[in-house]
Symmetry: C2
Subunit: 324 residues, 2 copies
């Protein structure tokens, strides 16, 4: 099918209505971003490919929401306030106006809901499946971005929310796993990440380092420790699981491994100095975000040590989800 729209009409029809003021009505080659005085601009980019990061048959609005939210999750981990985003969209052959309308609606609703307007973009024809990348902009007080590299020996390690829901939801999408109450929750966690923006002040005030858990807790923790020049000890029994995930993992060691090594959590892993731990917990509670202490940063450059409920060290065959 030859789509009935050229790129300009497509932008005017679907995307201009969801653009923010800096996007200049999407009529220009460029957008203007003005960070508030005294603030640094934080920039993050995530690319998503149908079949890799979502299913091509997912609702278009859900695909759009996920693409924006995984970037907002990065901003949250850096303690940054969203300012806006740009979208590069490669549409596969056979796209329809209905599909794009639904995509733009989901994107627009999230852009409004998270106060992160569309600023600009580019729409091209894909050579294969739907591919999109979002670059999101946020602001932090100058010099105050929460770094991935900041974890220090002695810090407590916290994760927000619950771990493994989305990875177990993906298993359900792949037809693995039995029917059970709570499966809807797992499926929804896979489809609709919830960026922890509410945690950003707590992170900026109290965390030494942070990252969002997007490729699995075990692997992402290893990344953060490598970046920080440290190691860690983690108590696997302390990793917070939702009731649905706990049900899936009860007596199923393989499911638990998936929960802690699979991707798409979009929770925040933070290192917090001992003296700040109480304040961090209080600030997170005040923000309405549950956080759980799962271990400690320790000196050294070796792999993190994971202990199971009985205290036995546990190794993981596959530390994290890799798109390669």
């Amino acid at each position: 099918m030859v789509p009935p729209l050229d790129e300009d009409s497509l932008i005017a029809r679907f995307f201009a209505p969801i653009a923010g003021p800096g996007g200049l009505g999407l009529k220009d080659d460029a957008a203007v971003v003005v960070p508030p005085p005294g603030q640094d601009l934080v920039v993050t980019v995530d690319a998503l490919v149908a079949g890799g990061h979502f299913f091509a048959e997912d609702p278009p609005a859900s695909i759009a929401r996920k693409a924006l939210r995984v970037n907002l999750s990065d901003l949250a981990a850096k303690g940054a306030e969203p300012l806006g985003f740009t979208l590069a969209l490669a549409l596969p052959a056979g796209w329809t106006a209905d599909w794009l309308q639904d995509f733009a609606r989901g994107l627009g609703e999230d852009a409004a809901g998270f106060a992160c307007p569309l600023l600009g973009g580019d729409t091209v024809k894909a050579a294969g499946a739907l591919t999109l990348s979002i670059t999101a902009f946020g602001a932090v007080p100058a010099g105050r971005m929460v770094p991935r590299t900041g974890a220090r020996a002695g810090d407590r390690l916290y994760v927000s929310g619950t771990i493994g829901d989305a990875a177990l939801g993906l298993q359900l999408r792949l037809g693995r796993g039995a029917a059970a109450p709570g499966n809807e929750h797992l499926l929804d966690r896979y489809l609709h990440p919830q960026p922890r923006l509410a945690l950003r002040d707590a992170l900026r005030r109290h965390a030494s380092g942070a990252m969002d858990v997007s490729d699995g807790l075990v692997g992402d923790l290893a990344k953060m420790m490598r970046a920080s020049g440290a190691s860690a000890e983690v108590d696997l029994a302390a990793v917070p699981l939702s009731p649905a995930a706990r049900r899936a993992c009860d007596g199923d060691a393989a499911a638990f491994d998936i929960a802690v090594t699979g991707g798409d959590d979009y929770e925040i892993l933070a290192s917090v100095p001992e003296g700040e731990a109480e304040a961090y917990e209080a600030a997170a509670a005040a923000a309405g975000v549950p956080v759980a202490a799962i271990g400690r940063v320790v000196a050294g450059s070796g792999p993190a040590l994971f202990r199971d409920r009985g205290g036995t060290p546990k190794a993981f065959a596959r530390g994290s989800f890799s798109h390669f």
Copy 2:
């Protein structure tokens, strides 16, 4: 083939060496961009797909350079000084370390040459052909971005450099067109855009509006006039052609149509108020960039009027290159 590298190793090996200071060694989820005091941040994004915007078999260094330069061309048209860029790269199955090494080398050389460092990115597996998008950041004095919407009736229209070389080069790549001296020039213009960053001060000081010509002069001029709520009269004989393009177009009306409607010029189309025209020409000359007056902005909302050498109005079947 299963590539021998996970994403982190790939980043550390190929991309970290070309990252700028704001890129934090590409070890974080995010980069920091700090516009100079009193400056606005200008953001632009361009996506490129193998088979659409370049040939998959083009030298990897050339693909990288083109991806960066088409974005730098947008910054140039806005009068912006480059600050850095992010890269979203979807690699097709079968990529090799040699390919990526060459890609990163080309990207790094251009990043250094144009003082526009890599700040961050994301690398994923493509679902089809190589797909990449770059988001580039630039700075302009607050409120001084040169808009696409600024053309006003009475302004002169200028283009920089020469028009049509890349479109004619693409024809050669497609096996159309005869062997001729100068073909190498046309082929190189297709492969290696030359962003007109040297023109940015002249544009900021003297132009009422500007855009880069990426999808063909005829169609891009129409876009700029629509965005400005104006129309235009263009003298086709005044459109500057390189000697090689002139040779290709001599006595070949179809080749001339390709030259003025084909894409990939990456020259700057600018509207300049009559009172600023002399100063614009002088500033461009001082910057070493040839500019040619090709017509005028006129009142109205109809399509631009193109006149050929004899003054006869000429219509184009196809105004611009469309990726749809």
